[in-house]
Amino acid sequence: MSLKNTLHNLKEKYKGKKMAPAFNALHTFLYMPNETTHSGSHVRAADDLKRTMNTVIMALIPVLFFGIFNTGYQHFAAIDAANNVAREFSLWGNFLTWDNFWLGAVQVVPIVIVSYGVGLAIEFLFAVIKGHEVEEGYLVTGMLVPLIVPVDTPLWMLAIAVAFGVVIGKEVFGGTGMNILNPALTIRAFLFFAYPTWMSGDKVWVHDAVNLAGTPDAISGETVLGYLAQNKDFSYSVSDMFFGFIPGSIGETSTLLILLGGLFLVFSKIASWRIMVSAVAGALVMAYIFNFAVDQEWISETSKFYGLMSLDGWKHLIVGGLAFGIVYMATDPVTGAQTNRGKWIYGFLIGFISIMIRAFNPAYPEGVFLAILLMNVFAPTIDHYVVRGNVKRRLKRLKNATIHPKSTDGKAEELKAETV
């Protein structure tokens, strides 16, 4: 008997049992189910939630691979820098090398495994308890989480954060499609507030920088934003920042690959271009307001905000996690604004607030995850007012309504008059 028939028979056997959702999740992973339409439309389009989520994952894979190589590259580059060895960048010579890949993979792959393992285990558990199918939301979250954490994040911390994020961020609200906050960012925020020393500072962004701190081999693990926040000079060029050969969270550094991923998502009509465009616009507006303030000499060079506020506005887009946040996190359809007009407002404010927090947060020079979480909370309010606009239009129309009385209404009145 073929695999298909075996699985079909197993499915029939488990139907209605407690473990059915868990089995079905694995079954539907292998085979698209034999379900047919019952009511309404007899034919359906080809897309389902699995395909949608899979498309986002496809857009994330290049970023993940880049992150693996970059982990290795930054580690070795930092060692060279500490030993005053001059290092000339070469894509094939010292970036896409086996050493970099191996070192990166050893660090990153366990993070991916823990993220998926813990998250999916909780999803399965809740599906079995609540008796619904395992929904696909975590497929993307599980891939996002490794890309937005520092490379040396201890796995146990990650496991706790994932458990918190999935349970409190999502399942308590009813699971996929019902959550208010982006689960991946909830996980990130939990890590940030629970273990700040592991999530910020000048050591955590390069592999081994924390371990080597205080030893003669100490290396730097500072990000571009970190240098800027301290008004220090740094040696990274614009092209380094655009292509992503800089320290940072695992997947956030390569603006080029993120841009390509974003274009792919827009082209495949999975992510909202409105949010992406307006978020970039919002970020630029805030950044150029800061530039203007610096030009007007309202901010002196001694101000601790000088470094970030004087950075050319457009450069904000290629450093830190802003690009990654805009493309992959702000566009989450569940937690974002749901109306087209709302998306413009929502995106704009994300960009705007990201740069604001970035400049003014003394503890941690990055604001995109806080900005998105904040706007997640406001998205339903934005939508509410956009939808009210539609309702108001309808109420306005109502004033000119032509309502004809029922012919029986008249008769009833006549009858009444007679009986009185």
């Binding site: 298909k4 079909h8 539907t28 992973f29 292998l30 085979y31 698209m32 189910p33 034999n34 379900e35 047919t36 339409t37 019952h38 009511s39 309404g40 439309s41 007899h42 034919v43 359906r44 389009a45 080809a46 897309d47 389902d48 939630l49 699995k50 395909r51 949608t52 899979n54 498309t55 496809m58 199918e133 929904e135 696909e136 009813g174 699971g175 996929t176 499609g177 082209f267 495949s268 009509k269 999975i270 359809p333 569940v334 749901q338 109306t339 087209n340 998306k343 939808v387 539609n390 309702v391 309808r394 129309r397 109502l398 309504a401 032509t402 309502i403 004809h404 009385p405 029922k406 012919s407």
Partner: protein, 450 residues
């Protein structure tokens, strides 16, 4: 005078199996049936008993809430079976047709001089009243009501649906009579819409407000046109009539008979020779389905088009309102890694490794597989792209799901019928049953407020 309306949002679903424009006469059916599910919200009260002889056009039952609203037999014969379901609800009435047909004939009505009340009484008596539907609620119209306008869509955009220009050929006199008579029932206008090619027999008729519609599906749905021409407000009422039903109303007025004959398009990729058949309402579908031949055994027969029709079977019966019967393959099979491999043979509104956007003119052979499982609403912005009405579709669906009457009213439930959500249901990534949600919302609203 005509006004042009261009619909931009939407999706034309091109399927294999469009009907060739030739009409054959279908074999006469032995048994005819009236399916009570066709009349949503009507509680039937039987007028004849099982085993009784009825003439064609003689009443079988009436609306419990309105004794004068009669539902008649399409043929003369013996009422052989009253199929009942749970709580003795009547499901189907079956009539064994006589060899020689006897027709019940009423006196014809002079539409020029008749009053609105006379028109209504005549249509109720002949059995053609159920062809007049009303919005809000998408139910058979209340004869006591006065609509603000009447809408007739003579522009077909539903996938594989019968071409109104073809089936209405030569029926101008009947349609004119019906339109003149219906025009008396409203102080407002009778809006008739046709395609832009100018071949529609409806275009030449008088006493109407003509609109020329263009654009993809759902431009041809009457709900889309109402929303663009004169949207329904709270408390307002409009009537809608399908053009093929207009012909029957016309015959009822001109000749005083209930003439169940109509031209039906047999379509779909499972049909060997899709074409038109001249037959009667209630006829067994097998009488013409097998005349055209079927391509496979495991098929879904649909009373209506593939987006809005009712599930039937080869031994099912042609519905009261239908002029399309579709047959497509059942999709009850598994697809190995069907969720992530590139898809070339199915329609999609996205480009997520689905390639229907490469060939917009290609005709597809779709089956009844849902292409995925039921999920919560996740993706946003997809429905709006194919939903031309000035309504937020997902918000309205959610309001219906949580039974929030205020919200349903404010978001425009009065303006829609389930069919308006057929296209959003088709593209729905979460595979939600949109039409069912809207139907339940409308029913709840009718019960609570109606």
């Amino acid at each position: 005078m005509s006004k042009d309306i261009r619909i931009k949002k939407g999706l034309s679903i091109n399927l294999v199996g469009g009907a060739e424009q030739t009409t054959s006469k279908a074999v006469l059916s032995n048994v005819y049936a009236i399916n009570l599910d066709d009349f949503h919200g009507i509680t039937p009260k039987m007028l004849v008993k099982q085993g009784a002889e009825v003439k064609a056009g003689e009443a079988l039952f009436y609306n419990k809430d309105r004794e004068d609203m009669l539902f008649v037999s399409p043929v003369s014969g013996e009422l052989i079976e009253i199929q009942r379901g749970a709580r003795r609800k009547i499901l189907t009435l079956k009539i064994l047709a006589d060899k020689t047909q006897e027709q019940l004939t009423h006196t014809a009505l002079d539409v020029k001089t008749a009053s609105a009340a006379a028109v209504k009484a005549h249509l109720l008596k002949v059995g053609c009243w159920p062809y007049i539907k009303q919005r809000p609620y998408d139910i058979v119209a209340d004869p006591d009501s006065t609509p603000k306008a009447i809408f007739i869509s003579g522009y077909g955009t539903a996938p594989l649906a019968a071409d109104p220009d073809y089936v209405l050929q030569g029926k101008e006199a009947e349609m004119q009579a019906a339109l003149t008579a219906l025009g008396k029932c409203t102080p407002g206008k009778v809006h008739v819409s046709v395609g832009t090619n100018g071949n529609s027999p409806l275009a030449k008729l008088e006493g109407i407000e003509l609109h020329k519609i263009s654009g993809p599906h759902p431009a041809g749905l009457v709900g889309t046109q109402i929303n663009k021409i004169d949207p329904i407000n709270k408390g307002e009422l409009v009537w809608t009539v399908a053009p093929q039903d207009l012909v029957m109303i016309g015959e009822a007025l001109l000749k005083g008979v209930f003439n169940p004959e109509r031209i039906v398009a047999l379509v779909g990729s499972s049909v060997k020779k899709p074409k038109y058949y001249a037959t009667k309402i209630g006829t067994e579908i097998s009488t013409f389905l097998y005349a055209s031949g079927v391509n496979e055994e495991n098929i879904r027969v649909i009373n209506g088009d593939v987006l809005t029709g009712a599930k039937s079977s080869p031994d099912g019966y042609l519905g009261f309102y239908n002029n399309t019967v579709s047959a497509i393959p059942e999709g009850d099979d598994y697809d190995f890694f069907g969720w992530n491999k590139p898809i070339f043979n199915k329609i999609s509104s996205t480009r997520a490794l689905t390639f229907s956007w490469l060939q917009p003119k290609k005709k597809y052979k779709l089956d009844t597989n849902t292409n995925g499982e039921h999920r919560a609403f996740v993706v946003t912005g997809q429905y709006e792209a194919v939903f031309p009405l000035d309504i937020y579709p997902m918000q309205l669906l959610k309001a219906c799901m949580v039974k929030d009457l205020d919200e349903m009213e404010q978001l425009g439930l009065y303006e829609v019928a389930p069919e308006d959500f057929s296209l959003t249901e088709f593209i729905c990534i979460s595979k939600q049953p949109h039409q069912q949600i809207i139907r339940e919302g409308l029913d709840l609203m009718y019960k609570e407020i109606g």
